[in-house]
């Protein structure tokens, strides 16, 4: 697509951005830089302030304090219709009285852009729906409406495209397909995408960078792999995927590795993944990183003895175990069904182990359950 772009462009910078609704602080002193051209996800449970942040950037909500800038242009007090920002709304908000063509042309016409026709055609081609131009929105399926909402926003070539739970209304299969398509379109058009979602899988699939939000603040920001492998808070550890978090205390170690005592076992923890403030630590390990074997088998790496299988569910690609440890805690273990050995049964005594590199350490004063109940994908 050519022409019709805005002179304003650059990184989106949120500085000390705050939004209060009466007593309630929806967004608390947010500082964030979203690089130009990136696919950025704001991930968090409902009510964490992610949508409010998005609406402040779009100009649909006024900030209580702080500033919003694109490149060097401060847009904090700019009217929504004067911002180089477009939004894909949660339920699309297509204009029911206008044809698909006119829906897509709406923004171009308001700005008095020339060659509306060519640009609408290109936008419809991008989402592969040129043949539906004459229809009305209510004659389209949910997935088609979703694409039109995207085309209607993208056709304006904004500096920033905001997506508010764009795939929330679609079924799982369509959602997966649209995730890939959205990512492809973003690469194709090169516009900065800011994507708000509560679905961690959706955020991980599409975004270059994810900011995990909780109670109006950013818990942690980074690449999907970084957030998953090296979470800094128990909220992030539980909200993105599942984690086993075990109380322990740091009793020594070198410059590269700390040694953590958990109920008598010595566990190695890489210093780069230790975020504890003092010796009290919540030791974390992802369930799929753990190896499991009958008690007495030889193991290497970090080893925990004395477990008993309290539950085993065979789910085809893997078997999910609940292992009760001597100190009463249940640990989750996901074992790939790839080595031909029969799955362990309930009541079997087992030993578990994992590579020390996969261990992470969180501050010991954090709530080990934070974020797990907020995540719709975890049990």
């Amino acid at each position: 697509m050519v022409g019709a772009s805005f002179s304003v462009h650059g990184d989106l910078t949120l500085t000390n951005l705050t939004k209060n609704f009466g007593e309630f602080v929806a967004v608390n002193d947010l500082n964030l830089v979203i690089p130009e051209g990136s696919f950025f996800a704001l991930l968090g449970p409902s009510g964490c302030g992610k949508t409010t942040t998005l609406r402040m950037v779009a100009g649909l909500e006024e900030s209580s304090s702080g500033s919003i800038a694109i490149g060097t242009a401060d847009i904090t007090y700019e009217k929504p219709y004067r911002r180089p920002v477009n939004t894909v709304f949660q339920n699309y908000a297509l204009f029911p009285h206008l044809s698909i063509y006119e829906n897509v042309a709406f923004g171009l016409r308001r700005r008095g852009v020339k060659d509306v026709d060519a640009q609408v055609q290109k936008a419809l081609e991008l989402v592969e729906l040129t043949h539906l131009a004459a229809r009305k929105p209510n004659q389209l399926s949910g997935g088609q409406q979703q694409r039109i909402a995207l085309a209607r926003a993208i056709v304006n070539r904004p500096a920033l495209l905001l997506l508010d739970e764009p795939l929330g209304a679609l079924d799982l299969k369509l959602r997966r397909a649209m995730q890939i398509e959205l990512k492809w379109i973003q690469t194709e058009v090169g516009i900065t995408f800011v994507h708000v979602t509560h679905d961690q899988e959706e955020a991980m699939t599409m975004a270059d960078t994810i900011a995990v939000m909780n109670e109006g603040e950013i818990e942690q920001m980074g690449s999907p792999a970084d957030l998953y492998d090296n979470p800094r808070t128990s909220f992030v550890a539980n909200f993105l995927g599942q984690s086993n978090l075990i109380m322990g205390s740091i009793i020594g170690g070198s410059g590269r590795e700390k040694v953590v005592d958990i109920f008598g076992s010595k566990i190695a923890l890489p210093v780069s993944r230790n975020h504890a403030h003092d010796s009290s630590v919540l030791l974390g390990i992802r369930p799929e990183k753990i190896r499991i074997a009958a008690a007495g088998s030889s193991m290497y790496g970090n080893i925990l003895q004395g477990g008993v299988v309290s539950d085993a569910s065979y789910i085809g690609v893997s078997t999910q175990y609940q292992v009760e440890m001597p100190w009463g805690q249940e640990l989750m273990v996901f074992e790939q069904n790839d080595d031909g050995t029969p799955p362990l049964a309930k009541g079997d005594p087992v030993v578990i182990s994992w590579e020390p590199i996969f261990t992470f350490g969180l501050p010991g004063d954090q709530d080990a359950g934070a974020g797990s109940e907020a995540n719709p994908d975890s049990e």
Binding site: A58, G59, L60, K79, P80, Y81, R82, V85, N86, T87, F89, N91, A93, L94, F95, P96, H97, F106, G107, R110, R111, N138, R152, A153, N156
Partner: protein, 297 residues
Amino acid sequence: MSTALLHTGSQERKALISKKKLLPYWLLAPGIVWLIIFFLVPIYQLISTSTQTQGNGIGTYVQTYRFANFIDAITSSKGQLFRSFEYAFLATTFALIISYPLAYAVAFKSGRWKNTLLVLVVAPFFCSFLLRTVAWEQILGEQGLVIKTLRVLHIIGAQGHLTATPFAVVAGLTYNFLPFMTLPLYASLERIDIRMMEASGDLYANAIATFRKVTLPLSLPGVVAGTLLTFIPAAGDYINAELLGNPGTKMIGNVIEARYLEIVDYPGAAALSLILMVSILILVMAYVKRSGTEELV
């Protein structure tokens, strides 16, 4: 289970199905009976009366299929007929101009006052139509505050008056049918998803463009319903012209009333009534077709 039992079962089921099929008709029956007694029969009588001619003595008419009654009726009353449509059109226009901002404010800007405002819109219905029009006669009358103020301000001369003018008739019509305009407008505005306006603003439309391109088109069903509910009764009204007008502001309703009650010319009154009905029907059909509401949500 024996075959005999099965047989009874299927018979019972058949009976049940036919009962279910009949249910809609039973539900419709009271309405249909009502319509037959109070609409179809009177309409038939109206049509039949419209072609009768006078028999022996005043008030007795016999069927002679005299279709010239219609031509007589039109030639003698076309002035009042056109005036009715003119006044009804003006009243509808004014009602729309007053009601739209009102309905918009109630739908979007009234907050916790919404229900109170809606009750106020409907409040005039607690008082009879006739009484309210008489009240208007008082308000606009020689002793009223309005005329005195206008005279002091020299907007109206010492000899000028407000009652017994076309202005008073149109104002009365506008006032009396205002709720019929406001309520459908409110209903259609209130249904508009606030995100439509947000999306419009997001797509570079300022407040005026958003209103013209999104809010107004989406409220068109309300505009059509409101204008019909105002125009149709206003065109047939005679109370306002009777109480607030003068002999020069007579509407078709006044003519029909006079023919029926004073002149006792039943065929003429019936013919005029039919002419009024048919012309309203044609106007309404043309209007609805033109506004294309069937395409709207």
